[in-house]
C-alpha cells in the first residue's frame, strides 16, 4: 500500500508502538474479562459482559491486522508468541478478575478511556487507524453505557455495595492512571497529528469519569498524591502478566506451526 511505503522509519516506529499499546491492552483485558463467561453474577449480565470481552478481542485483532499491514507478522503470531517484556499493555488490564466490583470498575475506567481515545483517533492523520477507530464507536458506546449504569447503580446500591465499589475505585485508580503513561514517541505522534497524546487523553478522561463517580456518590481519589502505575508501556509488567500469557498460549504452543 502506497500510504504505508511513504511512512518514514521514525514515524513507522511511533505508529507501531502506539498500535501495540492499544492492541495489547485490549487483548489482555479481553482475556481477563472472558474469564467471567459462565460465572457471572446473573445470567443476563454474564451474557453482556462476555459480549464486551469478545468486542475487546475483536478490536485487538483488527489492530494487530493493521500492524501486519505495516510489516509486522500476522495477528495470531504477534498476539500469542511475543515474550512478556515485548507486550506494551498497561498494568490495569493485567490484574486477575477479582470480585465483580473490581472487574466492573476496571471495565468502567478503561472503557471510558477507550471511548475518548478512539474518538480522538477517528481524526488521526494515519488514515487506516482513523478508519478502524470509527468502526469501534458503537461497541465502545455500549460498553460505556453499560459501565456508567452499573457504577451509578452500585454506588447507590444497598448493603455493602457502595463500600465495595469505593474500594475497587481506590484500588483501580493508580492502575488506571497507568493507561496514560507517555510513550517515547509522544512528540512525533502529536507533531504528525497521528494522536493527540496521552496527556491530553488523561485530562479528557478525568473530565469524563469524575462526574460519573460523583454522581455515584463515590469519593474521588486524591489524584495529586497518587503514584500512577507506570512501566507497562515499556515492557515492565506486574507479576500477573506472565502466567496469563502462558495460559492463553498453552494450546497454541503445543505446535505453533499447526493450524488450530
Amino acid at each position: 500500500m502506497k500510504e504505508f511505503n511513504e511512512l518514514n522509519d521514525k514515524k513507522t516506529t511511533a505508529i507501531k508502538d502506539l498500535l501495540y499499546r492499544l492492541a495489547d491492552d485490549q487483548l489482555i483485558l479481553g482475556h481477563r474479562n472472558s474469564e467471567w463467561t459462565g460465572l457471572g453474577p446473573i445470567l443476563e449480565e454474564d451474557i453482556a459482559f462476555s459480549s464486551m470481552a469478545q468486542d475487546k478481542l475483536g478490536q485487538s485483532q483488527a489492530l494487530y491486522q493493521l500492524l501486519h499491514q505495516i510489516g509486522e507478522d500476522d495477528p495470531d503470531t504477534i498476539a500469542f508468541t511475543r515474550k512478556v517484556n515485548e507486550y506494551k499493555c498497561c498494568h490495569l488490564v493485567e490484574y486477575p478478575i477479582g470480585e465483580y466490583n473490581f472487574s466492573l470498575m476496571r471495565h468502567f475506567l478503561f472503557d471510558m478511556s477507550e471511548a475518548i481515545r478512539f474518538n480522538m483517533l477517528g481524526s488521526s492523520s494515519f488514515e487506516p487507524l482513523a478508519k478502524i477507530s470509527k468502526k469501534f464507536k458503537g461497541e465502545l458506546k455500549y460498553h460505556t453505557m453499560h459501565a456508567v449504569t452499573w457504577i451509578n447503580q452500585l454506588g447507590h446500591g444497598s448493603g455493602n455495595s457502595p463500600a465495595k465499589i469505593q474500594a475497587s475505585l481506590d484500588e483501580c485508580f493508580p492502575l488506571a492512571l497507568g493507561i496514560f503513561e507517555p510513550s517515547g514517541y509522544e512528540d512525533i505522534l502529536i507533531g504528525e497529528k497521528i494522536f493527540f497524546g496521552e496527556k491530553e487523553l488523561q485530562e479528557k478522561w478525568l473530565e469524563a469519569v469524575i462526574p460519573v463517580l460523583k454522581n455515584a456518590n463515590l469519593k474521588i481519589p486524591d489524584i495529586k498524591n497518587i503514584k500512577a502505575s507506570y512501566g507497562g508501556r515499556k515492557g515492565i509488567h506486574t507479576e500477573y502478566l506472565k502466567p496469563l500469557i502462558d495460559e492463553m498460549t498453552e494450546v497454541y504452543k503445543i505446535d505453533t506451526k499447526a493450524e488450530w
Binding site: 474469564e35 446473573i42 443476563e44 451474557i47 455500549y142 453505557m145 453499560h146 449504569t149 452499573w150
Partner: protein, 127 residues
C-alpha cells in the same frame, strides 16, 4: 484442600473439595421485564422474550446483548411484566365472531354486476 480443576479459572477460585449442600440462604428476585425489538425503522416492535432486571435502565442494558447480539436491531422497548394487562386466554372466545360480517370487508362490496347491467341497459336504450 481446594478443588484442583482442569479449568485454571476454577482452580483460582479455591473451591472446597466437599461442596456445601445447603440451599442458598438469601434468595433475591429481581423483577421481570418483557422485551420488544424493532429490526429496522418503519417496522413494528415485536416481543422477543423476557428477562430479570432490577429496573428499566438496567433492563435495556441487559436486553441489548441477550436479545439483539446477533439479529439486526435499531430499538428496544422494555416493559415491566407486571404492567402488561392481557385479555386472557379464558376469554379467547370473544374473538370468535360470526362470519357474516361482510359489510366491513372490501370483498363484501361487489358492484360490477350492477354497473355492467346498467351499462348494457343504457346501450340498449340508446340504440
Amino acid at each position: 484442600m481446594s478443588i484442583k480443576s482442569l479449568d485454571p479459572r476454577i482452580t483460582r477460585e479455591n473451591l472446597p473439595e466437599e461442596p456445601d449442600s445447603k440451599p442458598l440462604e438469601n434468595i433475591h428476585h429481581w423483577q421481570t421485564y418483557e422485551v420488544f425489538h424493532q429490526t429496522k425503522k418503519g417496522d413494528r416492535h415485536i416481543h422477543v422474550g423476557s428477562l430479570h432486571a432490577p429496573n428499566q435502565e438496567m433492563a435495556v442494558i441487559l436486553a441489548k446483548e441477550q436479545y439483539s447480539r446477533r439479529d439486526k436491531c435499531v430499538n428496544l422497548w422494555v416493559v415491566k411484566t407486571a404492567d402488561i394487562f392481557s385479555s386472557g386466554y379464558e376469554n379467547e372466545d370473544i374473538f370468535e365472531t360470526t362470519p357474516e360480517k361482510t359489510y366491513r370487508e372490501a370483498g363484501g362490496y361487489k358492484v360490477m354486476d350492477k354497473i355492467n347491467k346498467f351499462k348494457k341497459e343504457r346501450k340498449q336504450q340508446s340504440n
